[in-house]
Subunit: 352 residues, 2 copies
Amino acid sequence: MAPQRTNMREVADLAGVAMSSVSRVLSGHPDVSPAMRQRVMAAVESLGYQPDMLAQSLRRKETRSVGFVVSDISNPLQSQIALGAETALRAKGYSMLLTNSENDPALDSAHIRLFQQRRVDGLLLSLAAEDDPQTFSLLSSAATPIVLIDRELRGEAGRRASSVLSDHRTGMRDAVGHLLDLGHRRVGLILGQPMRFSRERLEGLKDAYAARGLQPLYTVVEGQLEPRHGRAATQALLDAAEPATAIVAGGNQLLNGALAEIQQRGLRVGADLSLVSCDEISLTQLYQPPIAVVRRDTRALGRHAAELLLSQLEAQEEDDQGRKRTTREPEVVLLPTEFVARPSCAPPADAA
Amino acid sequence: MAPQRTNMREVADLAGVAMSSVSRVLSGHPDVSPAMRQRVMAAVESLGYQPDMLAQSLRRKETRSVGFVVSDISNPLQSQIALGAETALRAKGYSMLLTNSENDPALDSAHIRLFQQRRVDGLLLSLAAEDDPQTFSLLSSAATPIVLIDRELRGEAGRRASSVLSDHRTGMRDAVGHLLDLGHRRVGLILGQPMRFSRERLEGLKDAYAARGLQPLYTVVEGQLEPRHGRAATQALLDAAEPATAIVAGGNQLLNGALAEIQQRGLRVGADLSLVSCDEISLTQLYQPPIAVVRRDTRALGRHAAELLLSQLEAQEEDDQGRKRTTREPEVVLLPTEFVARPSCAPPADAA
DNA sequence: GGTGATTCTACAATCGTTTCCAGAAACCTT
DNA sequence: AAGGTTTCTGGAAACGATTGTAGAATCACC
């Protein structure tokens, strides 16, 4: 039989004290006599009482929960971020509400609104777009701290939010530099949506060419972070009048598509064509030949995001109106990326 | 400036009506005049009022949220389940609280308790163990519907919970059957923890041998669902006096370890050694040669779990005590698995 | 033993909703 | 025009906790 949820009233009655005393005992208030503590705890034990966090939240004006908006949790990249974030949040007693925005900016804003109605204490956002007006206005007037994950927003919204960013530029610069040093000149870069990570990667590629004083013979293809785009882009790069001799895929979904196309054409990775991907997955490590990647610690990304949020939350104070205000300015954390050279990169075939 | 959260009182005052009327308008109560509706909606609009779900939950005795306990969200298998579940829940207006139990049964039960304090309406559980006493007693007296994901519990706990199961046995039977038909006799099966999915896989393997009237020359290695175990088990299988000629890895983590070992030994998959894995990931599809798998629709697994839970929630009614009771008996859904033969399976080398 | 300080406890208001109940207004019906 | 429905609205009591305030009890001290 499902036990009737016992509430504080019953505990108080059983112990023969007032509810306020029970509350004080449980919340560790200093002014409580040992005798009182004993009686209350005994009653709590015998009833198996567990406080109702809903009621606590309502009264305390904090839910100890944060909302996490992610475009697609089934993407290994994002799920690792989520893992890092959840672990850090849980360690501090926060729970995580998670929702998928399916790469739809409209869902981003809808979910943010929903989370606000649920009165989450803060938001962790890996947005589907960096320029959605709805999301923008929602964020610029948000009452809770916000941390953006690998996203950059302009204007008021960007100014109010903290963010954790990856230094894609450096990693990409080294990756393309490696390819150029191997003799490649026509590098094909497959990117996702026009967001910070795409811009930075392009800049990194340009840096590499510029640093060597080389003509910019690269080609960039933008699209969605999906296998289909990876495949189509690979086709385009290989069918061009001057085909790319090396391809850099800006993410594991793109890599999947690229590899599918490469295999269908019977091309040998690391011989006929060089290949680099972004973000490590089991495929890049175990593929034969192993695939070079621009690596980053995604779990740390999530962890840092959570910690940034937590530090904002801990710095909150109630103002005279009784509403919370953070005393802390938004922060930006930049995490490193690292290029890992692997046999998928070799001198171009025509140079042999 | 963060806008003061407006509450229902302010809406009522602005509209010049009672709070109860505002509530009725917003919750679509039938007995409300068009004029009233207009006035209230105007006030709601002008204040940008959004109801506080916390207060609603407290009063309505339902949070429209469910808790999802998963051992490791960064595992592609689990994140796909989570995606399927979240999408289905969201479609019905439910939010998902997600937590990682890190394969620790103690965390399982701690999180269940936490979710209960948060008063989730239901639980979706992919437990770390099928026999933890704490979890057991928590579940047998739970007040909310529960759906187990690919887990089987005995006793009262199992009787009260619904579950979504995969038919691992059939898929494994076909996989091993395929290997046997290719001429393999010494099949090595690498399993995870002793839970239903492991037991079923073993049964499936036995079925295959039995159906062909063959001597059971297989070897089974149980352990954790981790790459390390996959690797160690592979070592053991290959170093045995009579080495396995085919290896079946019971999950993608195990496959990672197995492949690492295989590569280090310079063995050719699909030639020196046949290989089968469980659950499709990009690696199994794109590896050269492609790796045969026992496949299942993990996203559907999550979706079915959510739908099972939702159907229980919708069937709830309040009894005379004012507490909810489900009128519906727990259900069990069995989802198919399918063996996909691929070039990673070939006749054993010594048979050539 | 009276005064004040100190420790503890209880009452009651509050958080933001929903919903029961009673009553007002309107509309039929005869 | 009285009586009976039906429709609508407002007041107030929940939901289950926390917390400010005030008062009771204890104690020390002179």
